[in-house]
Amino acid sequence: MSQERLLTGISGLDELLDGGLIPGRAYLVRGGPGSGKTTLGLHFLAIGVANGERTLYITLGEPAEQIRSNAEALGFDQKSISFLDLSPTSEFFTDIQTYDIFSPAEVEREPTTQKIIDEVKRLKPQRIFLDAMTQFRYLSTDTFQFRKQVLSFMRFLVEQKITVLFTSEGSEAAPDDDLQFMSDGIINLNYLPDKRTIRITKFRGSGFQAGYHSIRLTSMGMEVFPRLQPGTYKKVFAPESVSSGIAELDQLLHGGLERGTVTIMSGPSGVGKTTIGLQFMKEAAGRGERSVVYSFEEELEIIVRRCQNVNIPAQSMIERGTLSLVKIEPLQFTPDEFAHLVRQQVERQETSIVMIDSVSGYRLAVRGEDLVSHLHSMCKYLANMGITVILVNQTEAFGGEYRGSEYSISYLADNFIFMRYLERNVDSKLELRKAIGVLKKRLTDFEKSLREIQITRYGIKIGDPISGLRGIFSDLPQLGKATDGKL
């Protein structure tokens, strides 16, 4: 970065702004009521205070006392922020001495601007947050005056090398297009019924990450979760195969799953998809590598217990730090927030395998947003980081015509492993067996036959290739007559 940047106090926002705001300029923060404008402003001033800068909060609407107590509740060091309270006092209402001889604009504007000028000259702040600039509209006799006034006011502030954030309550009834033209950058805050977003629409002299990004307002203030942009992350890694630790499974896959690839593990409920994934992790743990499972459906204790039952020592892997199980409640995160969580985990600690269990659970978490594009960028990001990605995809039907995957995500997969139930007759008794096969493998060849898979308390057992199987993509594959019943 060639330019000096000014941190906004919200790390995600700095990321969107390519490192932060360019100092000495005026930025517009737009948003309706409750969208988080004030919180953003407090972050902006608080980080200034933390850096030993002088900061000024000019309020034209909300009383300073109220802002102070709200800031206190959010854990900001509000005492070090100077306030200039230009909000109307209650006397304004109780004082019957109203006037009509001059227009309010003529009477009130001068004292208001004079107070600001005096305070700015006295305090010489480096950061100013002004809430809300739209108030000045009512102090101007016409739009031309307003425009001229705001422009010269901003010039006055910027000439003192002050970085200004000013808010606007833009709405359809009172558009703020003029303010948008005048500012050096625009930060839009949006409050939709089910989520909050942030969007940068202008930033003079700098690039920025466009599009909508999730934000969260918590008891700690505002957090911004930039949308994953897989292209910007690249890690050098050896495209070696990751073994499953089961010779037959590795044979099926002609070596294993490669680093930096995405594997869809598809099959009906209970067939053993998660277990196969964890088997890869067990083997990785043996090499001292770390894996992460994001479980959207199953409780962590159940996963751990299930692993123990099939000879995967999940508990001790967790204790040694080679396995992280993370339970994600549906509707807990937006896709951007989840991506942020994943990024934190894989960037802070070397990670070898990531499993998302399952795609349906993830779909619930993205709340009807475009599943494919979010999952795509997540997988691409992880693959670029050299991680072996396993997507667990549950097919709805136990039998029925075979469908590779729901939600048309097959294109995401470098490798496609499918698991099925098989029917077989043993001494005129019907038995259900499980089988595993590979449909696609981008980097290597693979075995084209199915193998039986048994999950026992000694671990996963995979048989020899099954011969004489018919109709493996039909309702229920059946063993043909030619078989010796070996299966």
Binding site: Q97, T98, Y99, D100, I101, F102, S103, E106, V107
Partner: protein, 121 residues
């Protein structure tokens, strides 16, 4: 500035008087003010030399025109300030000797120009 005659502001509304006073003082004029007909009368019969009268007719009854006529007879120029743009008030104002009628809210620049003209500057 001592030699300059005073401007008398007549207004039923105290806050208006205050604002008018502030504005005129800032522009370098000395003012006296009257908030009622009685005060108006007193001001006229006082010692102070009055160069211009600004009469905000809002809140006064028709007797205000008698005082306006007295101003005309004394050859003191005056402006009528009207709460609304009205041909009737304008006619009446001129008929009772006003130099002009201005409508609230006053556009400061224009208003100042008139005052300067009437004060002979």
């Amino acid at each position: 500035m001592k030699d300059k005659p005073f401007i008398l502001a007549v207004d039923h509304n105290r806050r208006n008087l205050e604002l008018l006073g502030q504005f005129l003082n800032k522009e370098g004029y000395q003012t006296i003010s009257a908030g009622s007909q009685e005060e108006f009368q007193q001001a006229l019969s006082g010692e102070t030399e009055i160069g211009l009268v600004l009469v905000d007719i809002s809140g006064f009854d028709r007797q205000i025109w008698d005082l306006c006529e007295k101003l005309r007879d004394d050859q003191i120029p005056f402006l009528v300030i009207s709460p609304k743009q009205s041909a009737a008030i304008q006619q009446e104002s001129i008929a009772h000797g006003a130099r002009s009628m201005v409508v609230k809210p006053l556009a400061i620049r224009e208003f100042l120009g008139m005052i300067r003209g009437l004060m002979g500057e």
